[in-house]
Symmetry: C2
Subunit: 240 residues, 2 copies
DNA sequence: GCGCCGCCTTGATCCATGTCAAGTCGATCC
DNA sequence: GGATCGACTTGACATGGATCAAGGCGGCGC
């Protein structure tokens, strides 16, 4: 019998790709074992909702693989993506049973889930998890506030460059030198637009403009080569 | 000898105006006494910085009275106010000794301060404080993400109306009926502009436009009367 | 009272970005 | 191969809000 990929991961937290960055990162062996015993994996196919705003949400989770978005939508259909969730990012809110955002799988997603109640109890008793959770919350808060600067003050070009640099950073590429970097954009043009508070056409135009200026190359629409990251980052010298 | 207002407050947490909303809100008597023993008051005059970005910050604090802002500034001087802090709001980040934002006193400020290290220890041992802190962090995160929707998607008029309704809500007015409401704007036009991602002229024009439409009256530039809050809120029917 | 100074308002104009409308490109299916 | 479809790009034009500029108004010192 074939073991599914999910089952496979279940067997082995030690080799989990997000072991050292997710909610379990600051845990000692004892806490780690408890988390291990509680966890269960869940797959969500690309395009599907993980949870909808206002919905009851009785799990919290870490993203093991894939990309998700947090978003809010106005009644007349304007949408703002308020967060892009990458592997190791945390989903859900301990101490609250309903969801404030729409959470959508952008790609196929593997989630490492915990039922909320037992997880909350564990947070109470396990100081490593507790500290990590608090740190995650404050890190997210700082990130959200930084994004407010982007949404409120930056030009369309600066927004695009900021986004590209964010992807470069989160790609955690080993190279330190100013080698050309190739990145796969985790979001479609439409999702980028929504994340950056722009329209899809403006995103597309700015990407073309950066290409014309030699700051990026477009291998495909979603695959970008940055010949010189420091030159791209220099576009932000007035922002930041 | 005259006792200053700060000294006066020091003597009596029980009658503290933010007792039931600040970091101490979920504490039992024992925790409360510990906080009480640790706390010290600090006054900051209007216009002065509480802390600057990158600065070392060895205290955390609750706002007892007054208004402060969190903000970020680009190197070329564009500024985004990322948060408006009102009485009971929390300043600082346990587990981190430096400050990510500029924090400024908009009005004269009374802060209830705790040295960070002992406070962190108390967070470890006192579950009421710990829970409150986590809740505060997640509430702030939700608020920040809601603000991202405002910055990214709403029109200037919707932004202004959202701000006015925010002030109404935080004013915690006792009336439930649709009585006319009078509010004092905590921020100048300039600060409103920065908070809403607009320019001062646009803020001013939108305020005038709301006045012409009979949705608000301007007793002075900073003192607003809202004859019918539900009619004002109806301006947001497409947003939200 | 008068002059000064911040803060706010209003008007005229501009421009970055949105909107509307065609394409183009690449993948998939038959 | 060609039809189809979704994702992206490009062009032409419109516009909301920014920018530039000129007052108005209220508080404060003298």
């Amino acid at each position: 019998m074939k073991i599914s990929r999910s089952e496979d991961l279940r067997l082995d937290c030690q080799h989990c790709p997000v072991r050292h960055r997710a909610i379990c990162a600051a845990s000692d062996d004892e806490e780690f074992d408890k988390l291990n015993a509680m966890k269960f994996y869940k797959s969500v196919p690309a395009g599907q909702a993980v949870a909808l705003r206002g919905e009851k949400l009785d799990v919290v989770a870490s993203i093991v693989s894939g990309v998700a978005t947090l978003s809010k939508t106005t009644v007349d259909g304007r949408m703002q993506i308020t967060g892009m969730l990458l592997p190791s990012d945390f989903i859900g809110r301990p101490g609250r049973d309903s969801c404030e955002h729409d959470i959508s799988a952008v790609t196929d997603l593997t989630l490492c889930c915990f039922r909320r109640r037992p997880f909350e109890d564990l947070v109470e008793s396990a100081s490593g998890i507790r500290k990590r959770l608090l740190d995650i919350a404050f890190d997210e808060l700082d990130a959200a506030r930084n994004w407010m600067l982007l949404l409120g003050c930056l030009t369309a070009r600066e927004k695009i460059v900021s986004f590209l640099m964010l992807v470069v950073r989160r790609s955690a590429l080993p190279e330190d030198a100013d080698q050309p970097v190739r990145i796969d954009l985790p979001l479609s043009r439409e999702a980028m637009a929504s994340y950056l508070g722009l329209t899809i056409e403006t995103v597309s135009r700015q990407m073309s403009s950066l290409r014309k200026d030699g700051l990026i190359e477009l291998e495909t629409a979603r695959r970008v080569i940055i010949p010189d990251t420091s030159r791209l980052e220099a576009e932000l010298e007035n922002a930041e």
